[in-house]
Amino acid sequence: MRTCALSEDILLTVEKPARYIGGEIGSIDPAAGADVRFCMCFPDVYEVGMSHLGIQILYDHLNHMPGVSCERVYSPWTDLDRIMRERKIPLFALESQRPVKDFDFLGITLQYEMCYTNILQILDLSGIPLAAADRSLDDPVVIGGGPCTYNPEPIAEFFDLFYIGEGETRYAALIALYRTCRSQGKSREEFIREAGKLPGIYAPGLYEPMYHDDGTFREMRPLYDDVPRMIRKEIVRDLSGVQYIEHPIIPFIQTIQDRVTLEVMRGCIRGCRFCQAGQVYKPVRERDIGYLKRAADTLLKNTGYDEITLSSLSSSDYSGLAEIVNYLIDHYKEKGVNISLPSLRIDAFSLDVMSQVQDIKKSSLTFAPEAGTQRMRNVINKGLTEDDIFRGSAAAFEGGWNKVKLYFMLGLPGETEEDMRGIAELADAVADLYFDTVPKEKRQGKPQITASSSFFIPKPFTALQWARMYPKEEYLRRAHLVKDAVRAAHHTKCIRYMYHEADVAIIEGVLARGDRKLSAVIRKVYEAGGIYDAWREHYCDERWMKAFSDCGIDPGFYIYRERPLDEVFPWDHLDAGVTKEYLIREWKQAMRAAVTPNCREACAGCGAASFGCGVCPGAAC
C-alpha cells in the first residue's frame, strides 16, 4: 500500500485532503524503474490543474518513453502551504509522494500570468533555489512550457529552460541529451548550454537583455556564439500521427473539467486581433475523423466518464463536426453519455445538437461578440456580426431557450463611448428579439440576458501587441458607463451586466508584455506573502504596488503607452510562426477597422505556412 508524505493529522485538518494523496486511476505506478524522473507541475490548486488537457497529454507522452517516469505536483492550497512552511515539509510529487527536489526535471506549465507567484511557491516549498543561477546539480532542471512562454521574460530568472511550442516533439531529444551529459559527468551549465541549442528550447540564462536609456528594450544578446539568436516554436505537424491519451488520470474529487476531453484540432482559422491563442497555435491542424471516433471509444471505455467534451479553440470550424457529433449521439446517448460542445458558433446545426444533448430550460447560449459595435468588431477582426447574433438568438428563442450570455471586452484600442454603449444596446436588442420571436402564450417568463465584460489586455504575438491600457479609474468609468446604459435600456429588467476586476487586469497586462526587470517585482510580491494571485480572494493590489515602488519600477511604462511600431520587444527573439511584418500589417488593418479574411477564405500570409502543414497553402500534411 502507498503511504502519504503528509501525516494523518495534517490530512485530516486540511481542506480536501484527496488533493494530496495521488493514486488516481490512470496515474502511474512510480515503483517501476526509471532513470530519468520528471515532475510535471501546474502551479495552481489540484482541481484547476487536473482539468488541464496539456498536462495529461505530456504526462502520457513522457510515461511512454522508455526509462522515463513522469509524476505530478500542484500548488498546495493556502491551508497546507502554511503547515508545510511551519513544519518544514518539502513539497512532494503525488505518485511517489517523494520530494520534488529529488527529480531530474521539474516542468511547470504557464497558462496565465497571475500564476507567477505560485511558481515561486512551488520552488520554495520544494527547497529549490528561486533563481536558476543559484541552483546546483542536486536541483532539478526547471523547465517552463505553455502560452506564457511566448513572453517568458518576467519569470526568466526562475527557469533553466523554456520549451516553446507543443511538447510532443522535443522532450525525447532533451531527455536523451540529459542522459548523455549525466553519463559524461557534465555540469549543469554544460547541459543547459547544449539544451539551448535544441530546436524549440530557450535557455534564458544564455542571453543577456540590453535596454535603451529610456528603459525600452534594445536586444536579447546571446552570451555565446553557438547559441541561437532566434528560438522557433515547435508544433506537431500531423496530429493524427501522434497517439492520443488512452488512460487519462481520473481524479477522485470533482475538478473543473470532470469529463473526457477530446481534442479535435489545434489552432484557429479566425485571427481575432486580440487573441494570442489564435496566433501562437497556428496553423490550424485537424485530427482525422476516424482517429477521433477511435479515441472517443477508447477514452469512454477506459474512464467510465458519462460526459465527453470536444475541445478546440473554435469547434464549429472543425470540418467533421457534424459527423463526430452524430457518431457520439448515435453510439452513446443511449448509454447516458452527455456531449458538451464549448466554443460552438450558434446556428441551426449547433442548436439542433444542443437540443438533443442538453436540458434547454437549464442551459444558456453563449455568444462572444467581444465588442458592442460593428466598427469595433472590425477593429478586432471578430467575424461575428450583429446579424449572426440575431439570427442565432432568434433560432434559439424559437427552440425554447431564454438564457443568453454575451461576452465583451472594454478598453479596446480606439474605443469610443458609442462602442461602450453598444454593449448595452446589443444586449437590449437581443432581449427585444425575444419578445418579437416568441408569442406571448409560449413565453417562459422573461429572457435572461447576461452581458459580461473583461478589460482588454494586449498580449505578445497578437496584432494588438502595440496597444495601450488604461488606469483603473478609466476602466471603471467605462464599466459604469455601460452599466448606466444597461440601466437606461428598454428591457433593463432582462439584462444583467457584470464586469471583471480592473486592478488584476493591470498587473496581468504588465506581466504579459514585461521584461526581465520584473522578476524582482514578482519575487518581492511572493516574499511579502503573495500566492494564488489568480484567485480574487488572495489577490492583493497593494502588495503589487508596493513591490513595484520598492523595485523602482513604474508599471505604467509597460502598459500606458502605445508602443511605436519600431520598438523591439523582449519576446522578439522568439519565433511563434507568425512574422512581425504580418502582425504590423494586421495592426494597421485594425487602425483602419478593416477585416482580414480567415485562413480558409484566404491566406493572410502570416508566416505559419513555413511549417508546411494544416490549413496553409502548399501544406504537405
Binding site: M1, R2, T3, C4, S7, E8, D9, L11, L12, T13, P17, A18, I21, G22, G23, E24, I25, I250, F252, I253, Q254, L300, K301, N302, T303, G304, Y305, D306, K335, G336, N338, Q358, D359, K362
Partner: protein
C-alpha cells in the same frame, strides 16, 4: 434487478469523501461495462444506494453499494471485472443479487461493528501527561461500559447534545491496542469514537478526536429477528 457490492476502503483512499466514492463507483461501473439501469431525463445516471457514510479518514472492510442493473452474469466474474478497474485501497469483496423487495443498504443497516484505535504517531501514551499506559487505558474501558449509563456528547448544529447510548451497545471487546464495538444504529448513530472520548473524559483526560481512527468490520440488518450481514441478504449467482 439489484445487486449489492461489498468493498473495502483502506489506505490513502480513506481521505476521499463519501460523495466522491459515489462518483468513483459511477465511473467504475461503466469501466467494468456493467449494463446499468439509468434514470430518465437529460442527465441519466445509475440508480445507486450506499450504506451509512464513512467519516473522512476512517477505513472499512465492509462498505456496501446497491445498484440496479439490466443484466448480470456471475457473482465472481462480476467481482473480478470490478476489481480489474479499482484504485488501490478499494477492493470489491463480493457481488450478490438482492431478492425482490429487499430494503436498500442505506435504510436497512441496523448494527455496525467497528474497531477504534489511535492513529499512527498520535497515541497519547507516554506523550500526554496523566495517561495510563496503553494496556491500562484499554482495559479500563470495561468498567466504564459496565455502568448503566454511558453518556456521550455530540456537538451538532444545535450545540451540545448529551445522550445515554448504553441501550444501543450490543457488545464490546477491549483489546490490547483497540476498542471493538458492536452498536445498534437504528435509533441513533453510535460513534465508537464518542464512546472513547466519553471514557477519556471520565478519567479527566484530554482526547484529541483527530487522533482516533475507526475501522468498520461489518454491517448487519435485522431479518425475522436475527442479525445477518448486509452481504448475506444477497445471493451468489
Amino acid at each position: 434487478m439489484k445487486v449489492r457490492v461489498k468493498f473495502t476502503k483502506t489506505g490513502p483512499v480513506k481521505f476521499i469523501g463519501h460523495l466522491d466514492v459515489m462518483r468513483y463507483f459511477q465511473k467504475a461501473l461503466r469501466r467494468a461495462d456493467f449494463s446499468m439501469k439509468l434514470t430518465e431525463g437529460f442527465s441519466p445516471h445509475p440508480v445507486m444506494s450506499f450504506a451509512a457514510p464513512l467519516a473522512l479518514g476512517d477505513t472499512s472492510e465492509c462498505e456496501y453499494m446497491d445498484v440496479e442493473l439490466l443484466s448480470v452474469t456471475h457473482s465472481d466474474r462480476m467481482r473480478d471485472e470490478l476489481n480489474a478497474v479499482m484504485a488501490e485501497g478499494i477492493e470489491v469483496l463480493s457481488v450478490r443479487l438482492l431478492p425482490e423487495g429487499a430494503k436498500n443498504a442505506m435504510s436497512s443497516t441496523a448494527v455496525i461493528d467497528s474497531r477504534v484505535r489511535f492513529r499512527q504517531g498520535m497515541e497519547p501514551f507516554g506523550r500526554i501527561p496523566g495517561y495510563p499506559d496503553r494496556e491500562a487505558f484499554f482495559s479500563g474501558i470495561n468498567d466504564f461500559l459496565l455502568s448503566d449509563e454511558v453518556t456521550i456528547v455530540k456537538t451538532g448544529k444545535k450545540g451540545e447534545i448529551r445522550k445515554n447510548v448504553k441501550p444501543f451497545i450490543r457488545s464490546w471487546i477491549s483489546e490490547t491496542d483497540a476498542f471493538f464495538l458492536s452498536a445498534d444504529v437504528r435509533e441513533t448513530f453510535v460513534n465508537p469514537k464518542h464512546i472513547l472520548q466519553a471514557y477519556a473524559s471520565s478519567l479527566e483526560l484530554d482526547l484529541d478526536p483527530l487522533s482516533l481512527t475507526s475501522h468498520r468490520v461489518e454491517l448487519y440488518t435485522e431479518i425475522d429477528g436475527s442479525m445477518i450481514t448486509l452481504e448475506d441478504v444477497g445471493q451468489v449467482f
